[in-house]
Amino acid sequence: MRIVVCIKQIFDPETIKISRSQQAIDERGARKIMNPPDRWALDAALRFKEADPSIEVIALSLGEPEVEDVLREALALGCDRAILLSDAAIVKARTAGLAQIIAAAIKRLRNVQLVMTGHMALDTGSGTLGPRLAIELGDWPVLLSVDQLRLEHGHVTGLQYADEKYYDSSYPLPAVATVLQTPEHPRYPHGAEIINAYRVRNVEIWSSLALGVDPTALPAPTTGRQLRLPPARQMGFIVEGSPQEAAQTLVAMLRARRVI
């Protein structure tokens, strides 16, 4: 059986700069990384592979050729194959079209029982890829935003948090699962494996033409207007003095504001 993990390359949210004067996000000099929730998804998939070596894990990404870097990282982590969907049409595609082309690639792979991805991309993500893919794959069930993912008896099960309650949610395969970040640290690749991933391993590049899908056929349904920045908060009041004095002043002030 095959598991496909969809990975996005994003700007590291911690390295982008926000320019208040220009009301814009400055991405120059920002680092590009594997979207962290996708890393957790990949990690969970590789755990399944460790438990059952007959499972083949395939990393899949989409976009400009430079996205290859995250796929090489996925190879270094232990994926069997890495596929990049890349051509001029794919780069221009929007969400509904993206789901179509990714689904076409997954269908071509055959025997894919589980598609995993992060619960959302931390840059401009909407968290809708999983459910959209499920429709394009032929109405597969979706486990949305789960952790503690398990594969047993042809079912995929995960812990789901919904409306302030926890549920164990389970669906028969084939299915789509979007994964939350959990406290367990995901693994990072060994240096030698990274070198290997660039020297020996191969990232397959597929085009939309080869898949027989035109991802730009669907019209762009929204237009971007502008960026809006949240208002800057007023600088706070620093309570001075020794710890005892500061504590007394603070409690008095909080009481005056009726918050305690």
């Binding site: 926000i18 669907l218 960026l227 809006r228 706070g236 309570v239 918050v259």
Partner: protein
């Protein structure tokens, strides 16, 4: 003579000729009562509909959907309520909306809508704006203008929908819950959709120490700055506050850093990748402050920061700050609270 302005007054626009009209909201009744997040969406839909000259129709589904709950939806601002007890299949939901042709279709960004909205959008091959934090109408185009967070709330991207139906999911807690007006009247109708068996959900015990952060009046949050005995200190601080204010719900939480250290679970993480909170008082201890953290605490009424580093960004975000070692400041605070 150009009479287009008159036509506009009469509400005859291109979209209406195609048959797309009215604002629809999908509400879900898992429990035998309505969810506040759905009511907030209905309240906002009411505003938008009034500026468009459209009706607000609500489709109520879920195990506990009933005629009584549908009548309540009218009292909260809907013009017509359609209900059916069960979970509709994706196909029947698509057929329902292809028949009714909503101009705008809104969901709460909560369980149910999060999965239903993108699946429906893909079936209809149309756009979807998720996590909307602000909505307005461009009256000339009759289009929905939505602000949605990017980079976890560091900024908001404003997009305008171009094709009907215009679908969005709306964040909970952004818009007020509308007033209940028992004098409002409207049509209530039971609908026949194709129902599917209930999703296989088994409730499990929530992890220990769990108070839903969204319900807490006071949140004490710790960050990486709490080394060694620091975590125990903030637990004691929470206990001291609980002794002083027995009627308040006090919750312990942490930053992304505390979560990475394994001190808290995901349900306690205050961060835009975790939970967004709006307590009356938020005490950040040993949290340096990232914009993901600020985004998640923006709605707190009062923020107190305690950190040893006077240059920590959190002080720019807090209402009150104390610069000092956690091991000294917290015991002093506990002493004052207990006296």
């Amino acid at each position: 003579m150009d009479l287009s302005f008159l036509e506009q007054l009469l509400g005859a626009s291109a979209e209406e000729e195609e048959g797309y009209r009215n604002i629809w909201v999908v509400a879900i009744a898992w429990e035998p009562h309505l969810r506040p997040c759905d009511l907030q969406v209905i309240g906002k839909a009411r505003n938008l509909a009034d500026s468009l000259g459209a009706y607000v129709n609500v489709l109520l589904v879920g195990d506990n959907a009933s005629e009584d709950l549908a009548r309540e939806l009218i009292a909260y601002g809907a013009d017509a309520a359609f209900w059916g007890a069960g979970y509709p299949t994706g196909r029947s939901l698509r057929d329902f909306f292809e028949k009714h042709k909503p101009e705008i279709l809104l969901f709460a960004d909560a369980a149910g809508g999060r999965k239903m909205a993108p699946r429906l959008a893909q079936r209809l091959k149309c756009a979807l704006v998720t996590h909307a934090a602000d909505l307005s109408i461009n009256a000339e185009e009759r289009s929905l203008v939505v602000a949605a967070p990017i980079y976890h709330g560091a900024a908001y991207r404003v997009v305008e929908c171009k094709a009907n139906p215009q679908i969005a999911t709306i964040q909970a807690g952004i818009f007020p819950t509308p007033e209940y007006d028992s004098w409002r009247s409207g049509d209530v109708e039971e609908v026949e959709l194709v129902w599917k068996p209930q999703p296989p959900l088994t409730p499990v015990e929530p992890p220990e120490y769990y108070i839903p952060l969204q319900k807490a009046d006071i949140i004490i949050a710790g960050g990486r700055g709490l080394r060694g005995s620091g975590w125990q200190l903030i637990e004691e601080l929470a206990a001291a506050l609980a002794r002083r204010l027995p009627h308040k719900a006090i919750a312990l939480a942490g930053s992304r850093g505390a979560y990475d250290e394994g001190w808290i679970g995901p349900q306690q993480m205050v961060d835009l990748t975790g939970h967004t909170v709006a307590p009356a008082l938020y005490v950040a201890v040993g949290i340096r402050g990232t914009f993901q953290h600020f985004g998640a605490t923006e709605k707190a009424r009062c923020i107190v920061a305690i950190n040893h580093n006077p240059d920590a960004p959190i002080f720019k975000h807090a209402d009150y700050g104390i610069v000092g070692e956690v091991e000294e400041v917290i015991p002093a605070l506990i002493e004052v609270l207990d006296s």
